[in-house]
């Protein structure tokens, strides 16, 4: 079970990294989203895995999953929505302004010759 979660994190990370290194803004956003999943699951897993032990207090139940990573990841999920929205907005603005959704600057000649003065 642990191996499955670990490989899932790894696969999402790999896919996220690959997409982040693409040349257009949309795949980069998808890559960031995938990395977000990976990181959130990774953080969540730092509470170790437990099945059938939600951190809802019940009489007579002694074993609970670690609630702290869950609380932290919960806010992280919501914040990552805000972040994604901002990145998408920036990408959209850049595309609408220039009709080009490349993430890299166009190749320019060395025209910046700052003098010593």
């Amino acid at each position: 079970m642990e191996l499955l979660v670990a490989t899932a994190i790894g696969i999402m990370t790999a896919a996220g990294l690959y997409l982040v290194m693409r040349l257009r803004s949309f795949p980069v956003i998808l890559g960031i989203a995938l990395l977000t999943y990976a990181v959130n699951v990774f953080l969540f897993a730092s509470g170790r895995l437990s099945v059938g032990a939600p951190p809802i207090l019940r009489d007579g139940v002694e074993v609970y999953a670690d609630p702290l990573p869950q609380a932290l990841v919960l806010t992280a999920i919501v914040i990552s929505f805000g972040m994604t929205a901002v990145v998408v907005m920036i990408a959209l603005g850049a595309y609408l302004g220039s009709s080009d959704d490349s993430v890299n600057d166009a190749e320019t000649d060395e025209d910046e010759t700052e003098g010593a003065t």
């Binding site: 899932a8 956003i29 995938l34 730092s46 951190p55 999953a65 869950q70 919960l74 914040i79 929505f81």
Partner: protein, 962 residues
């Protein structure tokens, strides 16, 4: 006056000149003068205590953990320097008022001047060496502003930059030295450090500390080989030069050497380094000064030379050396400030400082002539002027000093330096003022108004008074010397007198003066030889060095930072993977402490779906709509995973966020192209693939490693589980952590979320107000549009569902404290309910029914959360302390009322507002105010077929058809 006020006055006063700028030049200079005068008088109020040998102190804790405290002290040495800084400062301000032209921004000038003055006063009064470093850096910065005051002159900018680079680098070295010194002594307080002479000198770290501190002092005081910045700083307005290079900036290094003299001096290392550097600087500066044609450059190199002289005297490590050094500091400050001001007058009136274009000014500018001549003769060491007295003391000290085992070396070089010194003084007088009156001056020279000649005149009268009656200065200098010596050495028994008998120093003095006179006689052939000798030009070397460093930085930066985002991603990933690989291989790995749990088939199924969706996403990412579907599957599987691993709250959050994220991306795809073109080469994709796989393997390894091991320390979650119900009144521990234990975090998060939404709104506004708007209005959709804008079934369904969804949201919110749910999740659920209306019934329909703007909803949420937190102040509890109680209102069961629920309400509102504001902003991009929009379901989109077919006119049809 309190020392705090004394140090603060110039800084506070620095605000005034800028404000007074519009009130006129007189008011501006007047207020500066008043501030300085107040500080000066404040300083004098401390005179009785300091004179009685007391050390006035003032302390305030700043960062006691770091040993950095705002402790000030005023002893004889500090008083002496502060007196020079403020006293000469007053004269400079008066002079500056007359010197600056109408084109110069006087408020700016005096602001910088006061900042600089405050920093200098801070240096000489600091008791804490870390505080001293702060002021030290402030002088570097403010002198940069002063030297570069004439921003339009390239020389000014270059000189300011050079001064900042050199003194800044020295300051950096000195920080290291001071930290070592503080570590050795166990305290950063000077009062403690000065008591620990043996401890410091026996420490193995003494030499590194000494070298680093001396680097700071030598760069500041322009000692060889760092002397080159000072002459270039002459591009500053003359009042600045007169201030910085007579009494203040360059004396800071000297001051620090004197301040630390009791603990650092007396060792062979100190003697060798300081005396050698001083001697070289003194001779070199004097020789170069003789051949400079620019009056200010001549004076600049003479300053370098005199600073070398003082450094050498401090280097000898004898009490008499200190006495002579202190006396010379006083004398040099006076005659050098007067000389700089005279040079400024000549420049101001004759419009040139080139000595070759001058001469014969004696008849045209008699007052200036008298002032400059007296000051220059004092500098040359002519009797009845104060320079003579200290120079003779220097020669006496040099006579007794043996360096490198050669008895005549120091005496010989000191005499040589004095000889050249006398020569350039004579040249200054004769080539500027003596000789025939010329008729080719760039301007008609005449004596300046009294505002300009009075300040140097005051200084020169002091030069003469001390020169004739040296016993007047004696008690002061003795007090200062005592303060420097700090009991390490006996104060020497020596009296300031004009005539000490036929001592060796007198003969050396005579050789110097006569030699200097003879040198001037043969100046012309000498100059020819000098000009034909190749010399290294410091500025050229410095600039080549800077250029080399800059081009190295440029190559590195442009290589890594070339505007290619994908390259940054690759560089960053490789760096992180490399670093973690290093940590992995060099660290120790413990053996597993947990057993692997068996995976049930359902887990395998979920895993397979996740992996398949992720793989397909990479494979099909060019088809953007398909990619969106696939990433939705990934998110769904992650949510399922959360359910499976006992995290119901996370699953609900992930699921709802997933919905709004997909909607958001769909809205974006409305404008973005639907396909990603194939651009990157196979090689590039292979490279990215390798990096990605390496990153994935690293993440897998790390996750797998810690999943099989227990935490190294007991997690604090035990506390949360134990206190959730008792202290927080809720059984859903995750929710209690969010709204109670870590409520402050959550408060911060909703603010961040709100800011993100406002940012999106602002960006949308910017786009809509730019040329993009026209583009948006004229946009042709790149794919066929649906036949009806608002499908009936969807409209009916969403409107029916709306109250149901709201009820669910309300239910999730209420039960959040005890069961999975809470403000975040219900906020997202309610947002989805509203978004559905936008999607089904249209932007117009929904907006017209909207009562409250989303900005207000965000603000209300943050306010409610914040006020709930503040509420606990009224019962004298810390911010965000929660409270709860159980109440029973008859027909209902007993239920709980908690302040945490109020806080959660704030979270709820902030989330709803933020999500809705973001999505609404995106839809506004597509909104066309002019376009026909209908409220009716099943309307036909009129803009679908573009251009709309014209209704055929009956008459024409037949003819066209024929």
């Amino acid at each position: 006056m309190s020392l705090f006020l004394l140090v603060a006055l110039p800084f506070l006063g620095a605000l005034l000149p800028g404000l007074m700028n519009s009130a006129g030049r007189q008011a501006c200079a007047g207020v500066t003068f008043t501030v300085t005068l107040a500080a000066f008088i404040g300083l004098l109020t401390n005179l009785p205590a300091v004179w009685a040998g007391e050390v006035v102190t003032a302390r305030a804790l700043w960062l006691p953990e770091l040993g950095l405290n705002f402790t000030l002290m005023l002893d004889g040495l500090g008083f002496f320097f502060a007196f020079l800084i403020l006293g000469i400062g007053l004269l400079i301000i008066a002079y500056g008022r007359a010197y600056l032209s109408r084109d110069d921004n006087m408020g700016e000038f005096f602001t910088y001047l006061l900042l600089f003055q405050g920093a200098m006063v801070g240096i000489v009064m600091s008791d804490n060496i870390l505080l001293l470093l702060v002021f030290w850096e402030l002088t570097s910065l403010s002198s940069f502003l002063l030297i570069g005051y004439w921003k339009h002159l390239p020389e000014g900018r270059q000189g300011a930059r050079m001064a900042l680079t050199v003194t800044g680098m020295g300051g950096l070295a000195m920080i290291g030295g001071m930290l070592i010194l503080g570590q050795i002594a166990g305290s950063y307080d000077l009062s403690v450090i000065l008591q620990n002479r043996e401890l410091i000198q026996e420490s193995p770290l003494y030499l590194p500390a000494l070298i680093l501190i001396l680097l700071g002092c030598f760069t500041k005081s322009a000692q060889f080989p760092f002397h080159f910045w000072l002459p270039h700083a002459m591009a500053a307005p003359t009042p600045v030069s007169a201030y910085l290079h007579s009494a203040t900036m360059v004396k800071a290094g000297i001051f620090l050497m004197a301040r630390l003299w009791p603990v650092l001096s007396g060792t062979p290392e100190w003697f060798m380094i300081v005396t050698t550097a001083g001697l070289i600087t003194m001779v070199l500066g004097a020789v170069i000064a003789l051949f400079k044609h620019d009056l200010k450059a001549l004076l600049a190199f003479s300053t370098v030379s005199h600073l070398g002289l003082i450094t050498m005297l401090l280097g000898t490590g004898t009490a008499f050396g200190v006495l002579a050094a202190m006396f010379h500091i006083l004398n040099h400050a006076m005659f050098k400030a007067a000389l700089f001001m005279s040079a400024g007058i000549v420049d101001h009136e004759a419009k040139t400082r080139d000595i070759r274009l001058l001469g014969g000014l004696r008849k045209l500018m008699p007052i200036t002539f008298v002032i400059a001549t007296l000051a220059a003769l004092s500098m040359a060491g002519i009797p009845f002027l104060n320079g003579f007295l200290s120079k003779e003391m220097m020669l006496k000290e040099a006579d007794y000093t043996v360096l490198y085992g050669t008895p005549w070396l120091v005496a010989g070089l000191a005499t040589l330096g004095s000889l050249f010194s006398a020569a350039y003084c004579f040249r200054f007088i004769s080539h500027t003022f003596l000789g025939e009156v010329r008729d080719d001056y760039p301007a008609k020279p005449h004596d300046p108004p009294s505002g300009m000649w009075l300040p140097p005149a005051i200084l020169v009268s002091l030069v003469v008074i001390i020169g004739c009656a040296p016993f007047l200065a004696e008690p002061t200098i003795y007090k200062v010397t005592e303060a420097v010596l700090a009991g390490v050495k006996e104060t020497p028994d020596y009296h300031f007198k004009l005539w000490h008998g036929l001592v060796p120093a007198l003969f050396m003095s005579m050789i110097a003066v006569v030699g200097g006179f003879l040198l001037l006689m043969v100046f012309k052939p000498l100059l020819k030889t000098w000009e034909n000798t190749p010399r290294p030009e410091a500025k050229v070397i410095f600039e080549a060095l800077i250029e080399a460093i800059a081009s190295l930085a440029r190559t590195t930066t442009h290589g890594l930072h070339n505007g290619a985002f994908s390259r940054y991603g690759a560089v960053f990933s490789v760096a992180v993977i490399g670093a973690s690989y290093y940590a992995w291989t060099t660290g120790t790995l413990s053996s597993p402490t947990r057993k692997m749990q068996t995976a049930e088939p359902v887990m395998w199924a979920g895993w397979l779906m996740l992996v398949a969706a992720t793989g397909a996403l990479v494979f099909f990412h060019r088809n953007r709509l398909l990619a969106l579907v696939l990433i939705g599957i990934v998110g769904l599987m992650v949510s399922v995973g959360f359910v499976f691993f006992s995290a119901p709250d996370l699953a609900m959050t992930q699921l709802t966020v997933e919905v709004v994220t997909i909607i958001l991306l769909l809205l974006a795809l409305n404008f973005l192209p639907n396909r990603t073109p194939k651009e990157s080469s196979v090689l590039l994709r292979t490279r990215d693939g390798i990096i990605a796989v390496a990153g994935g393997l690293a993440a897998t390894a790390m996750a797998y490693h810690f999943l099989l091991r227990d935490a190294v320390a007991t997690p604090i979650s035990e506390f949360h589980l134990a206190n959730s119900y008792k202290g927080g009144g809720g059984t859903n521990v995750v929710n209690v952590i969010l709204v109670d234990f870590r409520g402050f975090d959550t408060f911060g998060e909703i603010i961040v979320l709100g800011i993100a939404a406002l940012l999106i709104y602002a960006l949308t506004e910017t786009l809509l107000n730019s040329s993009v708007r026209a583009k948006l209005l004229n946009r042709k959709p790149d794919q066929p549009r649906a036949g009806d804008m608002h499908p009936t079934m969807m409209v009916v369904l969403t409107r029916v569902m709306m109250p149901v969804v709201l009820l669910v949201g309300f239910y999730i919110f209420l039960r959040g404290h005890n069961e999975p749910g809470g403000g975040f999740i219900s906020g997202l659920v309610v947002s989805i309910a509203v978004v559905m209306q936008y999607m089904a019934s249209g932007f117009n329909w929904t907006t017209s029914r909207l009562r409250y703007p989303y900005h207000g909803v965000i603000g209300a949420g943050v306010l409610i959360a914040g006020l709930t937190g503040i509420g606990s102040w009224f019962v004298a509890k810390p911010f965000l302390t929660s409270d709860f109680t159980y109440v029973r209102i008859p027909p209902f069961q007993e239920f709980e009322l908690a302040t945490a629920a109020l806080f959660d309400l704030g979270v709820f509102l902030a989330v709803v507002g933020a999500v809705m504001l973001s999505l609404e902003s995106f839809s506004r991009l597509a909104y066309r105010p002019g376009a026909e929009q209908s409220d009716h379901p099943m309307d036909i989109d009129p803009s679908r077929d573009d251009p709309p077919p014209l209704p055929p006119k009956a008459g024409r049809v037949s003819t066209e058809g024929a």
